[in-house]
Amino acid sequence: MADCDSEEIAVIGNTDLTAAELENNKNNTMAEAGTTLLRRMEISVAEAEKRTGKNAVNMQETYTVYLVETRPIDAAEGQNPAPDSLWRRYSEFELLRNYLLVTYPFIVVPPLPEKRAEFVWHKLSADNMDPDFVERRRAGLENFLLRVASHPILSNDKIFHHFLAEEHGWKEAVFETGFQAKADSRLKALNATFRVKNPDKRFTELKHYSDELQSVTSQLLRVRARVADRLYGVYKVHGNYGRVFSEWSAIEKEMGDGLQSAGHHMDAYATSVDDILEEEEHYADQLKEYLFYAEALRAVCRKHELMQYELETAAQDLASKKQQREELATGTIRTFSLKGMTSKLFGQETPEQREAKLSVLEEQIAEGEELVKEKNAECEEYVKNAWVDIERFKEQKDRDLKEALISYAIMQISVCKKGIQVWTNAKECFSKM
């Protein structure tokens, strides 16, 4: 599932990439500069374990920890060094991601697997402690690490390396970066969304796209879960045939054997749905990843809006200051200002006072021009960098989702083949009745 732009085949634990797939990825990402971590290192989230301990308010709690294993790739032939490993909680993954979000706002940061199980069909547990949920979360966390490790920019982050390398002291190191102070408040971002005048058109389009993506993938996940539920019902009811055939066969002489063996096939049919739906969960997880990616995409757009808004605000301030200077210099008042009015009411200023004001304004204007230049440069830089990552993301998304749809088709084919097999066997038994 993760990108890989390495020359060598990187061994990635627990994903479905094949040699051919990696070849394809390489073709698509050759253009990208920089090495990624995956070139040098195997990363996996190997296990999950339950722990109990005291939480922040000194109460007992049970939580799950995940074993993050890393192993350098360039071991010599025949050598198989033991992996380095450490345990991480989900909250630590969250912290890592938040740090990345703040530190690289122009990047579409890979999402984490969901915190709580959503879009469950009835048989699947919504309990966070449920072993199936934990297992799928384990896989999701691994996928997250692989995505980060294969990103041309994110993979070089020191905090990320630290996360993989040292269990203790990592949290402190993250907080020491002071990333929290850099985080934009939600309110500020919302404000910007409504008031920005000239956002880059491409970002506006991207915003719409990310909304659509979010809406359609969540709808798809909901309907899929309902379909899965119903399919479960169909298969399971056939299990009753097994029971009744078996009971009936007891009183039949000629039909007995046929009935009995047909019954076994009906039981097999009924139980086959469990595997089928488990495999489909994997497909659902792929869709979910892009549901959450849509949010990350949106965040990049929001940041642009914020920066653009700050630029516009700075430019506006500058313009108004320049106007004030003009008014002061020529003595004309073009705009209404309280100062202007009071000075009219309470008498003109002295030339000295005017000079003082003018020089303050000049200073402010100079500062303002610097600020605007700065903000402009920031914005341009942001747009440039963001768009590079957005293009990268788009290609990744198209690749991944196409692959997901293909593997969905393959799943359906497998379901059909199993169905043909069971009913062919049953037909054979029926014909012997």
Binding site: N24, R230, I406, W423
Partner: protein, 441 residues
């Protein structure tokens, strides 16, 4: 029009008559008159033609003229079709055309066409059972009264009933003894007024009442020396009745689940289409998946139709058969109980012993006849039953295979279309496909 259509060498298709197509609703027996109040709306909801003279689906047309067990010496062919509504001042009811073609000598002509209503079928069944109390007469479809549904009998119901009536008459025609019944002949040949007058002649309603009363009395009295083999049959019938009822329920439940699954599936495809609207590169695969799902929906619909036209009615028929069997066994018991009762009286009687003895001898013969008739018919019934049930399940299994095969083809062609775009993908998919189905390589 009728005739042997099925290929004599086609021995592997099950000898199948049209089973009654009963809808998935709960059917309740109603003791009232068979007044069929219904709508004259002839709009086609599911393709079943209301006024056609032939059942329209090709499968049913072939089935209608298929061989039955004694195919080689079949000399009488009966079809029930062409339901029509009749409105009188008092009531509205449906009649069916009964067409008979025969070479039997006891028939004056070789072709007859009459119209009969459900009441008439009921009468015929009653007469046959009276004349041959221990023969197993194939059941009639139930009277159908759904709570709250007073006015309308829909096309489905009428078609279901028509098929069941058709089967009923053909089973009677097949039966070596029942088909010789005079009442049967009258049923097939007489014009409406002739039938009415014939009905009035024989023992009718009152005699049936009498039988019911006697039956109740006999149950109270009980039979003393039931032969072992009939006890065995009784035990079999009790278990069979339970199992077939369960199967009927399970099958109805499957039908329900399939319908609900289809409903959800119909919502599913369109979401992929919706998604394709906001994508560029992914338009083709998304639309492809949507169309695959749509196609699978259509196949599912056909599978559901087949289930409700084949297996559901077949099983339901045998639920009714089980009741018939119980009645037959009861009647046999009653005949024996009658004899035993009279026999006991002999010990106490001082006078009229000769007359009594004569009666007892007659009853003894009656018991003997009844037992033999039942024994033979029992074997016959079992053969028919296993043939029918086997046929229905075989057909269902075949349809299910067909459904999966069609869906398989749909998804495989989608895969092919994606594959043809990039050869690299081809190797990837083969690899993933191999991973998904290791046993297929």
């Amino acid at each position: 029009m009728s005739g042997i259509i099925a290929d004599p060498t086609d021995s592997c298709t099950p000898a199948q008559e049209i089973p009654a197509d009963l809808s998935g609703q709960m059917l309740e027996l109603d003791e009232d008159d068979d007044l069929e109040v219904f709508s004259k709306d002839t709009t086609l909801t599911d393709g079943s033609f209301f006024n056609a003279s032939m059942p329209t689906s090709p499968a049913s047309m072939i089935n209608q003229y298929k061989f039955e067990e004694e195919a080689d010496d079949k000399d009488i062919f009966i079809t029930v079709d062409n339901p029509e509504s009749h409105v009188t001042a008092i009531e509205t009811f449906i009649t069916y055309r009964v067409l008979t073609k025969t070479t039997r000598s006891e028939f004056d002509s070789c072709e007859y066409e009459v119209r009969r209503r459900y009441q008439d079928f009921l009468w015929l069944k009653g007469r046959l059972e009276e004349a041959h109390p221990t023969l197993i007469v194939h059941p009639l479809p139930e009277k159908f009264v759904v709570k709250g549904m007073v006015e309308r009998f829909n096309d489905d119901f009428i078609e279901t009933r028509r098929k069941a009536l058709h089967k009923f008459l053909n089973r009677v025609a097949d039966h070596p003894i029942l088909s010789c019944s005079e009442d049967f002949k009258v049923f097939l040949t007489a014009q409406a007024w002739e039938l009415t007058s014939h009905k009035k002649q024989g023992p009718g309603f009152l005699s049936r009442m009498g039988e019911t009363v006697r039956a109740v009395a006999a149950t109270v009295r009980g039979v003393k020396n039931r032969p072992e083999e009939f006890t065995a049959i009784q035990e079999y019938v009790d278990t069979f009745s339970q199992k077939i009822t369960s199967l009927d329920k399970v099958t109805q439940r499957i039908l329900k689940e399939q319908k609900e699954y289809l409903d959800e599936l119909k919502e599913y495809g369109p979401v992929y289409t919706l998604w394709s609207g906001s994508e560029e590169e992914l338009v083709e695969p998304l639309k492809g998946v949507a169309s695959c799902i749509e196609r699978c929906c259509r196949e599912k619909e056909e599978q559901i139709s087949h289930l409700s036209e084949t297996l559901v009615p077949s099983l339901h028929e045998y639920v009714l058969c089980a009741e018939t069997l119980k009645s037959v066994l009861r009647r046999r018991d009653n005949i024996q109980a009658d004899y035993e009762a009279k026999n006991d009286m002999l010990a106490n009687k001082k006078t009229d012993r000769e007359v009594l003895k004569e009666e007892i001898d007659k009853l003894e013969d009656k018991v003997e006849c009844a037992n033999n008739a039942l024994k033979v018919d029992w074997a016959r019934w079992q053969k028919n039953m296993s043939g029918d049930i086997r046929g229905a399940f075989l057909s269902t299994a075949e349809k299910n295979i067909d459904y999966y095969e069609k869906c398989l083809a749909v998804w495989e062609s989608f895969l092919l279309s994606q594959r043809s775009e990039h050869s690299v993908e081809g190797t990837r998919e083969q690899q993933t496909a191999k991973d998904a189905c290791p046993q297929d390589t």
